[in-house]
């Protein structure tokens, strides 16, 4: 069993066809200073599914995502999006960063932030037209933030800021949605709103990848998981990859035995 697990953690024995995967990563290693944050990670995201990236604090969850997107540099590794180099596929990716990563004191309104989602479509000099604004308002509506359109972004609560970020991603009309800890520190209403939007995206056939920290909700929200602790621990459908053993491996001593048992029961 352990042996099987150990060989599993290295690579997926039969990786799905790379060309079909919305996001495939091979041998990704990222280091901060002299310490690897992510070591030789492979990941193959299944199309049309919701995948959670989980692992303990500092396990390289966000780093994997950021390195795949080229936000942080990597030491080695290859990344393909829909089977092609990522730079040719930027228009198909929507990324929702961590809320803490931006300056909320920036002089801009909610609607302006959502409109950033259509900038790519506009190019450098394309004019912002009524239909873009209508689309942005529609996206705000989907996350329940329509009436806040004219607010300065610093005046929003954490949950509201997160929903604005999601609305911006929606405005991008992407095929692959990558979210970095969207549920961190948000209220229950926001969490509900976000998850229902994500589920509707999946219903449209989009692929969603979420860096997630709350083990209790994994089985409710996601179909696939990717467990990481500097290295890949497990990858696959929740029922197979999200088990007591894989969690034990990923979290090690950091997860109390009782917690693991509880989760194991939840997993079934």
């Amino acid at each position: 069993m352990v042996l099987e697990l150990a060989s599993n953690m290295g690579r997926v024995p039969e990786a799905p066809d790379l060309a079909e995967s919305p996001l495939s990563i091979r041998g990704l290693t990222v280091t901060y200073g002299q310490k690897p944050a992510v070591f030789s990670v492979d990941m193959t995201v299944e199309p049309g599914k919701m995948t959670a990236i989980i692992g303990p604090n500092g396990a390289g969850k966000s780093t994997t995502l950021k390195a795949a997107l080229g936000i942080v540099p990597h030491v080695s590794g290859q990344v393909q999006v829909f089977g092609k180099p990522i730079d040719t596929q930027r228009a198909r990716i929507a990324y929702v960063p961590q809320r803490a990563s931006v300056d909320w004191d920036f002089p801009t309104r909610v609607i302006d932030v959502v409109l950033m989602g259509v900038y790519r479509e506009l190019g450098l000099l394309g004019r912002l037209r009524g239909r873009h604004k209508a689309k942005a308002m529609d996206c705000l509506n989907r996350v329940g933030m329509r009436e806040f359109a004219e607010r300065q972004i610093g005046q929003l609560s954490g949950g509201q800021q997160q929903r604005v970020f999601l609305a911006r991603a929606l405005a991008q009309d992407a095929d692959l949605y990558l979210l970095d800890e969207p549920f961190a520190g948000v209220d229950a209403a926001t969490e509900k709103a976000i998850i229902s939007v994500l589920k509707s995206l999946r219903a449209e056939g989009k692929t969603v990848v979420v860096v997630h920290h709350d083990l209790a909700t994994v089985t409710d929200y996601f179909e696939n998981v990717f467990l990481i602790n500097t290295r890949k621990v497990a990858e696959g459908p929740v029922t197979q990859a999200f088990t007591a053993e894989t969690l034990q491996t990923a979290y090690g001593g950091r997860l109390a035995t009782a917690q693991v048992d509880q989760l194991a029961q939840a997993v079934g």
Partner: protein, 309 residues
């Protein structure tokens, strides 16, 4: 005041001062929001070694080599700051302090070592410029604005700074959205395929060009003041970037015009005879505007940014 007096003596300095102020304030808005406000300070210091080296190489005071030299020095400074910050793992403020003081010191030393007795090149000039001397002697009144012959003898600084202003404005206009996104949310900008680092460097180079052209006409004090004070005051007036930039242009213009008028005529009103430094006065006025905005501006205090703390 009559046109005969105003047009030749005051019109061109006021225009030059205003254009220079706006050319600096425009990129200043983005530098401010990127927490790079002091890049303007650094640039304005390293302009001196740049022009001294250009002078040494060409042996003459001529505009283009000096502007190239100054722009080159700015780029060198920015690269050095970035290199020291990364290589030495030193906070940006300290890295900046190391670079611009050293380059300025090098410039002063070079200047002292060089025989500049027959040219107008000294540290004081570099600091305060000589806005007052940029007069239009061929003008006889407002009618000269239509007189081709008189227009041909406009101080060369005026068309130069005007062209610079147009370039700066075009850069900001063309890259407006890219600048806005990459300033607000760098990670998101990268995922959209925006070359964030290149854009950041381009912004600094544009700021340097503005600084150099302004410096040539008005000296480096105005440059630092205009990079920071009008955008900072504008930030207290509004929560929208578009409005902030508009306010900064207004404030830059007021500073330049009021500052020049106060410097030129203020002492006369007080019964003294000679004018005081226009550059210094423009910086002072911009400071007064900033103080007023900081005290009374509608958006002067930080809005809640719970996660950035």
């Amino acid at each position: 005041m009559s046109g005969e007096e105003f047009v030749p003596l005051s019109l061109t300095p006021i225009l030059i001062g205003t254009f220079a102020a706006i050319a600096c304030a425009l990129p200043g808005n983005f530098l401010l929001l990127r927490r790079q406000a002091l890049i303007g300070d650094a640039i304005s210091h390293v302009v001196l070694p740049g022009i001294v080296v250009a002078f040494l190489l060409t042996g003459a005071i001529s505009a283009w080599p000096m502007m190239l030299g100054a722009a080159g020095a700015s780029v060198v400074a920015v690269i050095l700051i970035e290199a020291i910050r990364r290589l030495g793992r030193i906070e940006p403020g300290a890295a900046m302090g190391v670079v611009f003081t050293t380059m300025f010191a090098g410039g002063v030393l070079l200047l002292e070592q060089t025989d500049t007795s027959n040219v107008h090149l000294d540290v004081e000039h570099a600091l305060y410029g000589n806005l007052e001397s940029l007069i239009w002697l061929d003008a006889v009144g407002w009618s000269s604005l239509l007189d081709a012959q008189a227009l041909a003898h406009l101080p060369v600084e005026l068309p130069r700074i005007a062209a610079t202003l147009v370039c700066v404005a075009m850069f900001i206009g063309v890259f407006w959205r890219a600048l806005k996104i990459s300033t607000f949310d760098e990670g998101f900008a990268r995922t959209m395929g925006i070359r964030v680092n290149a854009l950041g460097m381009a912004l600094v180079i544009v700021a340097a060009i503005a600084a150099v052209a302004a410096f040539d006409a008005v000296g480096s004090i105005i440059v630092i003041a205009m990079f920071i004070c009008p955008p900072a005051a504008a930030r207290m007036m509004t929560n929208r970037l578009e409005a902030q930039v508009a306010w900064s242009i207004v404030f830059a213009t007021i500073s330049a015009v009021v500052g020049y008028v106060l410097a030129g005529y203020g002492p006369l009103w007080l019964g003294a005879f000679d004018a005081v430094s226009a550059a210094g006065m423009i910086a002072t006025v911009s400071g007064i505007i900033l103080a007023l905005a900081a005290k009374f501006g509608p958006c002067r205090s930080r809005t809640g940014a719970p996660m950035t703390a």
